[in-house]
């Protein structure tokens, strides 16, 4: 590795890449339990070990993968699983929209893989880097480093979970799925900073309970749609300032 660059020079692509990996570390720690839990629960939900690895490699979306497992165990149809995946992953379109101004100059061979690796965690770390004022032309290398760290970590944890799930009996009865609830609570609660956000959560929660017995897990979709509509309507009526995503 080269010596540290003088202050007025930009970090090299290599340095940006490593910095992205380093800044991702806290997020990796947070993702470890979920990767392991996903790997250990997937087989009891009906996936083969190869399908478990395949899902982590190809889909690479923690919450969607978790929900797919619980829907699979509940016997949902393919259409419901895919529709739910769409709804659960819609937030990625928001991330895509937020980062688009910073990547629009890149060729497709960069934009496609960066999009594939655009997780909640990568978004949080990378948008922070883009918000820094230095005019480094290599920030996409930082993005790549952060994204690959997350991807490698997720694959490793899936494998550990697979092994763990097959060597510990009764793994499905331990209630490890509570980790997903705790994670989602940890993501949602800090976002409830405006009245429309609180209302969206309350309405979504209430509708989800009332509509729980609808077939094909349609209650989830009804609840999400109700929460979104109520949030947008209250925001438009109240004229409250729009919360900027963290």
């Amino acid at each position: 590795m080269s010596l540290a660059a003088p202050a007025e020079q930009h970090l090299s692509p290599h340095q940006e890449f490593l910095q992205g990996m380093r800044d991702m570390l806290p997020m990796l720690v947070g993702a470890i339990p979920f990767g392991i839990i996903f790997g250990s629960l997937a087989v009891s939900a009906g996936l083969t070990p190869w399908q478990t690895v395949g899902m982590s490699l190809l889909v690479f979306a923690g919450s969607a993968q978790f929900i797919a497992l619980s829907l699979l165990s509940g016997g949902a149809s393919l259409a419901v699983l895919l529709l739910t995946t769409l709804v659960v992953n819609l937030r990625h379109a928001l991330y895509s929209a937020s980062l688009q101004p910073f990547v629009r100059h890149l060729p497709v061979r960069w934009r496609m893989p960066l999009a594939f690796w655009l997780t909640d965690e990568a978004f949080a770390v990378v948008q922070h880097r883009y918000a820094e004022l230095d005019a480094s032309p290599h920030k996409h290398w930082y993005f790549l480093g952060a994204a690959l760290a997350m991807y490698g970590n997720w694959q490793l944890c899936t494998l550990i979970g697979l092994w763990f799930g097959q060597s510990v009996p009764d793994i499905a009865r331990w209630g490890l799925d509570f980790a997903m609830l705790a994670t989602f609570i940890g993501i949602v609660v800090p976002m409830l900073r405006s009245r429309p956000q609180v209302a969206a959560a309350l309405v979504a929660g209430a509708v989800a309970l009332v509509c729980h017995d609808l077939p094909y897990q349609l209650g989830l979709l009804a609840a999400a749609a109700s929460g979104i509509v109520v949030g947008v309507c209250l925001e438009r009526l109240g004229g409250e300032p729009v919360e900027v995503m963290p």
Binding site: P26, G30, Q51, G54, M55, V59, F60, S63, A64, Q65, A68, L78, L82, V87, N89, H92, A93, Y95, S96, A97, Q100, V103, R104, H105, R111, M112, A115, F116, L118, P169, D170, W174, F178, A179, A182, F184, I185, G186, I187, V188, V189, P190, M191, Q197, A201, V203, A204, G205, A208, L209, H212, G219, L220, S226, G227, I228, G231, V232, R236, V242
Partner: protein, 108 residues
């Protein structure tokens, strides 16, 4: 159901949402869509969490021995107080397993 079909479908849908605006560098969502996107994480995640706390084995479980409900409420409190993701997950899981152990619901 063919699970590989599910995986390919999930891949296509997930990639499509992530690539959506990267694919069209000069496109912008209309204002109302951008506004709605702000409520998607809250609404979807809450709609997953609440039934997960209140329903067990397909039935409403409004009971003191429902560790998912009790620990879930405690986890919400931890999240509100600390606003720290790792503390929320760690504290919530710890409480959950202590409760399950006390209630004799762990297979040990």
């Amino acid at each position: 159901m063919n699970h590989w079909l599910l995986i390919i479908g999930m891949l296509a849908i997930t990639f499509a949402t992530r690539y959506s605006l990267f694919a069209f560098p000069h496109l912008q969502f209309p204002a109302v869509v951008r506004q709605a996107l702000h409520y998607v994480p809250t609404a979807v995640l809450t709609a997953i969490v609440v039934p997960g706390m209140f329903y067990q084995e397909g039935a409403l479980a409004l009971r003191w021995d429902n560790a998912y409900l009790l620990a879930g409420l405690a986890t919400i409190a931890i999240a509100g107080l600390t606003r720290h993701l790792l503390a929320t997950i760690g504290g919530g899981l710890l409480l959950f397993f202590i409760l399950r152990w006390q209630l004799g619901q762990l297979p040990v």
